[in-house]
Symmetry: C2
Subunit: 188 residues, 2 copies
DNA sequence: GTTCATAGCTAATGATATTAGTTTTCATCA
DNA sequence: TGATGAAAACTAATATCATTAGCTATGAAC
């Protein structure tokens, strides 16, 4: 049976991402992951240097997918800077709702050390869109505020911390609008 | 040796919180926790219905401590609504930096089911302060936005997602100011 | 002084990540 | 064509966990 590779690193990572979404990160065991791939747990070590490294790879995939989702949305959006930003932030939120476990693993884990390149790939297009709205000056600060707002919102949603009802879609649009309005006002 | 209780539920929870802060949540094992308390692991089950229940209790403690820290800061703050809010949000952030692991465990864990009463104890004083700034109407939405902004900011800090330098203290003040300004503008 | 609930203990189980060493396959080259 | 060697899997073993079952010692109450 051995030699012709049964799996690829990509397949392992995608399967891991699927299982994490289906059962949660804590429930993912290397044994069951290997089982789903038709191999045994120790064989995974040929591809990844332990569980931590595997999860790091999953996070890279998640980042790629998020960047791609935001790009697609941003390209299809109007040229108006405000609309463009809102569209991208909506796509960000939709992504987080589509892959909640992977999202929180990638951006909500204190122990993980995020990849700088991946982080830049996520941040730079967003920073450009922010700069188009409120100017180049202070755009890093403005970006960080917007990211904090959106990440915080979806994180609190996903952790079940908004328990008092209300239209969470509409609220999201409103708070993004509030932040962008304040931003524009204070940079003029 | 048995009978005179060696531990109390409170001591267990406090010790667990300390160890979580010192070594991270994942590194906390019931064996070593029990060891630090001078008992054996199975004895913990007399006080808590498993590790999950213990962590739930730790989260309640964290919430209490955070509420208390914000209260203290809020009471000492000026009567000006803006200053008061900024002071409370700063205290929130300082708390998160003081107990990062406990903070992320309490508010960044998808699997945990937050206690509704604890959540209210955290939210209501804040909502009152928000209402004093931008009015009762829409104060829940305004509160959620502010919480999202602040939680998102500290969460991204604690997960090492702000890697491009800058004065993170000053940035925090600025983005809170931006949000509050936008809030006031759009509710007049 | 006996009784009995309490609070701890030991021992065992099943799951887990990880390591070491072994076996099978097949592409390459003599 | 047949031997060789690296690739890719495997089995077996270890150490660490959480959790459960059942036992033992303490001391308060009668």
């Amino acid at each position: 049976m051995p030699y012709p590779a049964q799996v690829t690193p990509e397949r392992i990572v995608e399967q891991a991402a699927d299982m994490i979404e289906a059962e949660g990160v804590d429930a993912l065991s290397l044994g069951r992951l290997a089982n789903a791939l038709g191999i045994k747990a120790p064989s995974l070590y040929r591809y990844f240097d332990g569980k931590t490294a595997l999860l790091r790879a999953v996070n890279l995939l998640t980042n790629e997918r998020l960047v791609s989702a935001m790009h697609t949305a941003g390209d299809a959006a109007a040229h108006d800077a405000h609309d463009r930003l809102l569209t991208m932030m909506r796509a960000y939120r939709v992504f987080a709702h589509t892959r909640p476990a992977a999202y929180m693993l990638a951006y909500g884990d204190t122990t993980a050390q995020p990849d700088p390149d991946a982080l830049l790939a996520l941040a730079l297009p967003l920073q450009a869109a922010v700069a188009a709205w409120s100017g180049e000056a202070g755009s890093l600060t403005a970006l960080r505020g917007l990211w904090a707002l959106v990440h915080g919102y979806v994180a609190l949603e996903l952790t079940h911390n908004f328990q008092r009802g209300g239209d969470l879609d509409a609220t999201f649009d409103q708070i993004v609008h509030v932040y962008l309005a304040g931003l524009k006002m204070l940079t003029e």
